[in-house]
């Protein structure tokens, strides 16, 4: 289970939180002139990186506030948490050696070991 640090309440178990997917997606201002493809991009298309990405969490069993986090999806390590409205902090993680970041032998996910 992930340990997540709510910027309002402190560090708690993941079971207290609800996930909100990718962060920083805002509703387009020109919605009346958008094409179907542009709507698809806003509604459905998402980044899905193996590595650093910004996501939303809600502290459902605590303060019930939404907040953002930057996490490395190849290791599950949290790199930053910040409140809604604040800009995404400029944090990075060691990049993966290859697109999958996994060792040549074996498909077990050893991304963390490769990076070490």
């Amino acid at each position: 289970m992930l340990l997540i640090t709510c910027p309002h309440c402190g560090t708690r178990d993941q079971s207290e939180f609800t996930y909100g997917g990718e962060a920083h997606i805002s509703r387009p201002a020109n919605s009346e002139t958008m094409t179907d493809a542009q709507w698809a991009e806003f509604v459905f298309m998402r980044n899905n990186p193996k590595g650093v990405w910004a996501e939303r969490w809600m502290h459902a069993s605590g303060c019930r506030k939404w907040f953002n986090a930057v996490r490395d999806t190849s290791t599950d390590r949290f790199l930053a948490v910040y409140k809604i409205g604040e800009p995404r902090p400029n944090v990075t993680a060691a990049g993966l050696a290859t697109p999958s970041g996994e060792p040549v032998i074996g498909s077990g996910n050893d991304a963390a070991k490769v990076m070490r």
Partner: protein, 416 residues
């Protein structure tokens, strides 16, 4: 290729099992192929097999970064069924189920297919209504789903707790008798062996590091074992699909999540069928070894780590123990996670892309195993002819722009 049979087993038994040969070759990559399939799981190998068998494309390769069947093909709970709601889904999953029925014989490989029946439980009135509707939709599509009331559920699966005071009372269930389970490794190995015989190169421990595109047309790939020229690249990379698609700038609605499963210690036969429950995110069957094979819904967060949280397992196990009180004294042997490629409408993406010669088969999410033969069959057709057939057409990525989604969150049976 030596044919596997009772006689060959008997002959080898009397000669010390010294005559068996490797079931497939371990070739080095050639400089060029007519098509390259990225991903040596069930779907990728099935695609290669049908490309070679039905479309005569034998100068092709399957590129696998680990070993074949080491990803989600080796991590799923092997449940086979076709009781999906929409016509488009019923078509592809039923196509797959029909292929499963003859696959062991076709591949000359014992895939241990067991049509023991799959039950989907209803725990409240709303769920019962939805499942009855799905039963009727299935029957209109010629799929053998029937509705069982609680007493019939108990008759079909005696260990289940149907008492009214249960935390998750069983009001009834759908039953697909042709559904069941099989052996995932055997399916992978069977397809690999049959494809290899027809000349397909299965290249393991080889990671794709880039895809070469010139003027919007695929010309080849780069791998950890050198460059390969090819006019067609077919991605069947499951949880890592977004990473492959990013190499050519194709946007997808896929999100990768961990999905966990686990097995108990082996016990004597006690559960005669597959039992699934949407409401409690749990499903269970018993393997031929005697282990109870159980699975959960996805972990909520995006991740590629192939591991999830204990709370997700606890949630499913707590419900399973309510449904099967006798499970409470079993110990668990092991648990694992795989990375599933979930789609917003819980249906797969089988599609051409804006890059000519680059095809994607992905988005199977939590339920890809059952579709393996049908998925490979339809995708091979798309790759060979550059046009989707009637089964693949509804699953184009264009549906997210047109709005013609194939919404299957109910029938997917595992929370996305």
């Amino acid at each position: 290729m030596p044919t596997y049979s009772f006689l060959s087993l008997l002959r080898e038994g009397f000669t010390g099992h010294k005559g068996w040969t490797p079931a497939w070759r371990f070739p080095d990559p050639k400089p060029a192929y007519d098509a390259v399939i990225i991903g040596g799981g069930g779907h990728g190998l099935a695609t290669a097999y049908y490309l070679a068998k039905l479309h005569g494309m034998r100068n092709i390769a399957v590129i696998e970064k680990g070993w074949i069947g080491g990803g989600n093909a080796g991590r799923n709970t092997t449940i086979i069924r076709s009781n999906y709601l929409e016509d488009a889904s019923a078509a592809i999953y039923e196509h797959a189920l029909k292929l499963w029925e003859g696959l062991g014989r076709e591949l000359n490989y014992n895939i241990m297919m067991s049509h023991r029946g799959v039950m989907n439980l209803a725990h409240d009135e709303g769920e019962a209504r939805v499942l009855k509707r799905r039963t009727e939709a299935n029957r209109l599509n010629g799929i053998d789903t029937e509705w069982l009331d609680a007493k019939q559920v108990k008759e079909f699966c005696p260990p289940i707790n149907i008492s009214a005071g249960s935390r998750f009372p069983v009001l009834g269930a759908t039953l697909q008798r042709r559904g069941g389970v099989n052996r995932h490794d055997a399916v992978v190995w069977g397809y690999a062996r049959a494809a290899d015989v027809m000349g397909v190169d299965i290249i393991q421990n080889c990671e794709v590091t880039g895809i070469k595109v010139e003027a919007g047309v695929v010309t080849g790939i780069s791998t950890s074992r050198g460059d390969i020229r090819t006019p067609k690249v077919a991605s069947v990379a499951a949880g890592h699909t977004s990473i492959i698609a990013n190499m050519v700038g194709v946007r997808l609605p896929i999100q990768s999540h961990p999905l966990q499963a686990w097995v108990s210690e082996p016990v004597k036969p006690l559960i005669p069928c597959v039992v699934m429950s949407n409401a409690v995110h749990a499903y269970v069957s018993q393997s031929d070894k005697g282990e109870l094979v159980m699975g959960a819904g996805i972990d909520p967060h995006n991740s590629y780590t192939q591991r999830g949280g204990l709370d997700t397992i606890e949630h499913s196990l707590a419900a399973l123990i309510e449904l099967f009180p006798m499970f409470s004294r079993l110990r668990l042997l092991r648990q694992w996670g795989g990375i599933v490629d979930t789609c917003p409408d819980a249906s797969p993406i089988i599609t051409k892309t804006k890059v000519k010669g680059f095809y994607i088969n992905a988005g199977w999410g939590t339920g890809g195993w059952k579709a393996t033969p049908g998925s490979g069959h339809a995708f091979a057709d798309l790759v060979a002819r550059d046009e989707p057939n009637a089964i693949a057409a509804p699953f184009s990525v264009e549906r997210f722009s047109s709005g013609a989604l194939v919404a299957e969150h109910g029938a997917a049976a595992v929370a996305h």
